[in-house]
Symmetry: C2
Subunit: 294 residues, 2 copies
């Protein structure tokens, strides 16, 4: 049941509870060996977070008419898989040889808590659980979607470009190129995977893909803005780290005021791409991303 | 066309050439960005090696009556995927925080040549390309097979147990437990994936699974033996490193002579599990593994 304009927060809370329960269910138990690794995987995945990717998959699935009644549905597998690969990417991204972050979601990063070897392997293992879950949907198409979004043409390519751009002058196009791959590819894939599992028409899939690309970029621009104007306690990681590292951020290329304008423009464009009916969650979600402060 | 007893080496050479050409074809080009990462992926994958896992997949596929004529067949995707995930596991396993190896297949390891960040990401990206290829077979079943073989119940679980056992006294059962997961799971999955794509009967799949388990364990026992009695130039990595690290090896648990006897017993048992017809490559492959010196 889509939410009305006024209860998007209640809707988000409901889907977040759903994803938390599915993650608990599909993550390997830390009562079985290798316990320390299962504990590390659960530590990072269950540390909270917005659960944006599974929420987008669910909402796109529902938007396309997918049936959300039942346990262990294909969409549930996909939601858990998306959050697990997102967490895997954060764990590896936080490693000392990468971004070298000590704090994530307000608590020590995986390698700070469990050591380097466990962090590398916890990320690798989440990667495998995710593909196992996604294949369990019975659709090879969504497996291909995820693999492409994560690979060198997507997220990993964006990570490399991000590191290479550190300390350099960047244009708006450079930043869009990095953001589109580093964050955008997985966000877009989340929308597409939900849509594919919901049997989207070709037209729906085309529009939802553009919708995903626009909110994905808006999401990352706002992330860049929050790194400058946000509050450490609210966003769960140190403010100002992007500037310190000389990262390629959108505000660095165009200034903070123009960044805000462009982010809102992307949100408006995303909203225009989906059908206008009452209580359309995809519209509310896009607006919510445009207003987020953490 | 299966090989006769006398030309197993010619057969292996033929399949190795096939897999080399498929790897060249399916690995991302190092002419496109991120070039350095694509170069690192190719460096490690194309560094040679026995190509045992794709050879096993191919032979099991052929044994079950799969059609090997044509380009870009499902079995070709699977062969490339298996070699890529094997290489991914070696790259991450060689990292300083894991086994800290400088040399692999006679050349510097990926992180020695390209740095830590590139090595972590090259492994991750190979992981993704492999799942993309495997999903491109159209079978979700083989995706699940691979994900389970790689995960914490398989290879990664074995790696953790391997590290935890360093410097400790181990029984034969401990070592079998580690080897079965660390090396055996992917070898068994290779045989099973070939068999599944070749439309194996239930009985064939059951027997081939046992065959894979036995040659997988034999392969690793012989690896342990070669670490003691082998020649650095032939095996491409320093001899004696297992003993130096206090690794859980089969010879450490039962002695080197008993190890040789047990490895040959496993080979004999594996051979007994497959149908007896002339030029049965699975029989020749098992014997070949039993006699390998690198």
């Amino acid at each position: 049941m889509p939410a009305s304009t006024v209860d998007i927060k209640i809707y988000l809370e409901k889907i977040k509870n759903l994803i938390e329960s599915k993650l608990q269910r599909y993550l390997p138990s830390d009562d079985i060996e290798p316990k320390i690794l299962h504990e590390a995987m659960r530590y990072s995945v269950m540390a909270g977070g917005k659960r944006l990717r599974p929420i987008l998959a669910y909402s796109a699935f529902e938007y396309c008419g997918g049936n959300v009644d039942g346990d262990d549905l294909a969409i549930h597998y996909a939601m858990a898989a998306l959050e697990m690969v997102h967490t895997y990417s954060l764990i590896h991204d936080d490693l000392p040889c990468m971004d070298d972050d000590d704090l994530r979601r307000g608590i020590p990063t995986c390698h700070k808590k469990y050591g380097l070897a466990a962090a590398v392997l916890a990320g690798d293992a989440l990667h495998d659980v995710a593909f196992n879950l996604l294949a369990s949907t019975g659709s090879t198409k969504v497996v291909v979607e995820l693999a492409q979004a994560l690979g060198t043409a997507g997220m990993i390519g964006g990570q490399i470009a991000d590191v290479e751009a550190e300390g350099k002058d960047v244009t708006k196009e450079d930043v869009i190129n990095i953001h589109t791959r580093k964050t955008g590819a997985l966000i877009t894939a989340s929308v597409r995977i939900g849509a594919i599992l919901g049997n989207a028409s070709d037209e729906q899939l085309t529009n939802l893909t553009k919708y995903g690309e626009k909110i994905g970029l808006a999401f990352q621009i706002i992330d860049d803005i929050l790194d400058i104007e946000g509050d450490t306690g609210t966003i769960g990681k140190p403010v100002g780290s992007d500037v310190e590292l000389g990262k390629a951020t959108y505000p660095k290329a165009v200034g903070i005021e123009q960044s805000k304008i462009d982010a809102q423009k992307l949100i408006t464009e995303a909203v225009a791409l989906v059908d206008k009916f009452d209580d359309n969650v995809l519209i509310e979600l896009a607006k919510y991303i445009g207003q987020r402060n953490n």
